[in-house]
Subunit: 390 residues, 2 copies
């Protein structure tokens, strides 16, 4: 397999884009990535698009060619495919783009992620997004994704004697960083009491434990190290690991619902591929779709002992100047969660950080980054490790 590097990134602001369609969002992010890479459209040989729900929310499928068409790339008749993996659709598209360049099938590809959710009602969005857990075994029996997250939170609090306040530290952290990110949906900071006193969604989780409904798009350009040198890029970041894992989709089939076996397996493979250990990671972008998912993931990624993530956050871990900065972008909670764009957006943030272009939210001198994008209630997990080459 050949080395794969990232030479361009682009994104829209995440939020409620009433005035923009799915296609205009992805074009905005895509063209910014091409411009950032300083290449021509003709250099792009294939497109991988991450999206979960365009068929259900905007009644548009086959969005690979749609992206190619509206970014002006259809003129070259290039391959353009959509990858869907629930909330991890973005990282899944990145994984496929990575494999395509690593294999030698293509030299330069555009990976884009996009979601447009505000075209339908909140009830419909909840219905559609819950489609990433088991429709027949979970949803038909009344369990939404939020209620499954709440179930996990209750068990976790009980098994590990974790206080509700500790779980609330996750959105507090994400909002602290989101307030510094011009691309973030929410710029307000939160206190633990704000989270506890917010509208109840599924006991014990309140509205402020849950990532918002967002529109948005993100894009990156992947290529070979030879191309990056030829194009005289000042900054080259290598994909050290790209790893996907799945688990039983319904909670009922899992041995233990307070850990995500998909995260454990995906990160195990990623560390092996990158020849790195958790202690070597400069910072992480994790999947805090629900506060509890963030905490458990940090443990399953090997950063903290089981049941201790909240305690570490209390001690200051996660902050930009700490030993392990977490979600410098603001995470899914504050930057926003335009589902198919999320995983690609985590990579975009990582590149900005590794290039030291993250301004007020810049992590001090990072060497590498780990991103975790998760599908459903942990039915899948995708881990990427990126490292600065120059």
């Amino acid at each position: 397999m050949r080395d794969v590097v990232i030479v361009g990134v682009g994104q829209t602001k995440y939020g409620e884009h009433w005035e923009k369609s799915l296609r205009s969002l992805v074009v905005e992010a895509g063209l910014r990535a091409i411009e950032d890479a300083g290449i021509y459209s003709k250099d792009i040989e294939a497109i991988y698009g991450g999206n979960m729900s365009a068929g259900s929310t905007t009644f548009q499928d086959h969005i690979g060619p749609l992206i190619a068409d509206f970014t002006g790339l259809a003129i070259n008749k290039i391959p353009a495919l959509r990858i869907e993996n629930g909330s991890a659709s973005g990282a899944a598209a990145f994984h496929e783009g990575f494999a395509a360049v690593a294999s030698g099938l293509y030299d330069t590809v555009l990976v884009g992620g996009v979601e447009k959710l505000t075209d339908v009602s909140m009830e419909e969005v909840t219905e559609v997004l819950s489609g990433e857990v088991d429709r027949e075994w979970e949803l038909f029996n009344g369990a939404t994704l939020a209620s499954l997250a709440a179930l996990i939170a209750r068990r976790y609090m009980l098994d590990y004697n974790v206080k509700r306040e500790q779980i609330a530290l996750m959105p507090v952290l994400s909002h602290k960083h989101g307030s510094l990110n011009p691309y973030a949906q929410f710029k307000n900071t939160l206190k633990v009491e704000d989270v506890l006193n917010s509208t109840m969604v599924a006991d014990p989780l309140t509205m402020l434990d849950c990532a918002p409904v967002s529109d948005g798009a993100s894009a990156v350009i992947l290529t070979t190290i030879e191309n990056a040198k030829k194009w005289k890029k000042d900054s080259i970041v290598k994909v050290k690991a790209s790893s996907v894992a799945s688990d039983y989709i319904a909670l009922q089939s899992r041995e233990n619902i307070t850990r995500f076996d998909s995260v454990i397996e995906a990160s195990r493979k990623a560390y092996k591929m990158a020849k790195l250990e958790p202690k070597d990671i400069s910072f992480v972008e994790i999947h805090d779709a629900y506060s509890i998912f963030g905490l458990i993931s940090l443990e399953d990624l090997g950063f903290f002992e089981k049941g201790k993530a909240g305690k570490y956050l209390e001690e200051g871990y996660g902050n930009l100047d700490s030993k392990l900065p977490i979600n410098p972008s603001g995470g899914l909670k504050a930057k926003g969660h335009p589902v198919g764009a999320t995983g690609v957006g985590q990579i975009v943030e990582s590149i900005l950080q590794l290039r030291k272009e993250a301004e007020k939210r810049q992590v001090s001198d990072p060497k590498n980054a780990l991103t975790l994008n998760m599908g459903g209630s942990g039915g899948s997990a995708i881990v990427h490790i990126l490292e600065v080459v120059k």
Copy 2:
């Protein structure tokens, strides 16, 4: 890139499976492929699933992990991703599986395609399936996929002086072969008059020019040539070419609507990759979602001069004993068109033919096969060329 071979195939009958769910269909096909390959579940390192509309019709997304779970493969926490590319979702999943093995990322993968359409009304199915053309520029103005096909047919008849009867030869051919295929949805043969006198869908195309609404699943196992030898397979078929191309998604943007530039580009690349020419191909499985798509594709694949496909069919081309057998499976029209399964099913049929296990519909001594799976009205095209190694 490493050589990639196919060592196992499985499929369900295509048709109206009122008693089976999406998950049971894909499990049926998947387990048959594993059994056919004579390997163990633990040998499978990743799953690529092709599906267009599960989110819209059965309200289930994230079906990669769902497939892994219900085929019993989640126990190994393997990667499982869904690929969507409209009607070409199946071939798109195969392309991604191919790239994964070719790259060295995985050694053995399961590629499955599935669609479950009979859970919703015919009106809803038409709405959902039309989502593979341009929703904003075509559908909102009243054009369904069928009416776009009719527009293409009218222009084609006019430009090339083609008779309506010649277009009807395509479904007649597909039904002739479908009648010999135990997995086909329709077993009846047709006459040209039957096609002409059938219910009008979009003038000049009648119901019998259009592929049916189908449920079904297909699956194949891809691996390295070393594994195939180690497993002592009697028959080894190599993927000589796997090629994807896109075009402007809406007809209005194309220079000429009587040719599919996506098909021309995908096949040009495939022939180059396989070092073969059209004259070297033993038989083809093409995408006759509409009769007119079949005819035009045969020309764009380089088999017949422009406007002459119907004339060649009149002369007997396409029959099992002719110089170029076309759709020995019965094609999309007679075998059926469970959208996401279709492209994988074309590969399954090709393997059965190349192994000489196609019984009554066996093509005489084939050396290789070409399959064409198309998305929308030609917004994308995917070509595969397979060749017998032993």
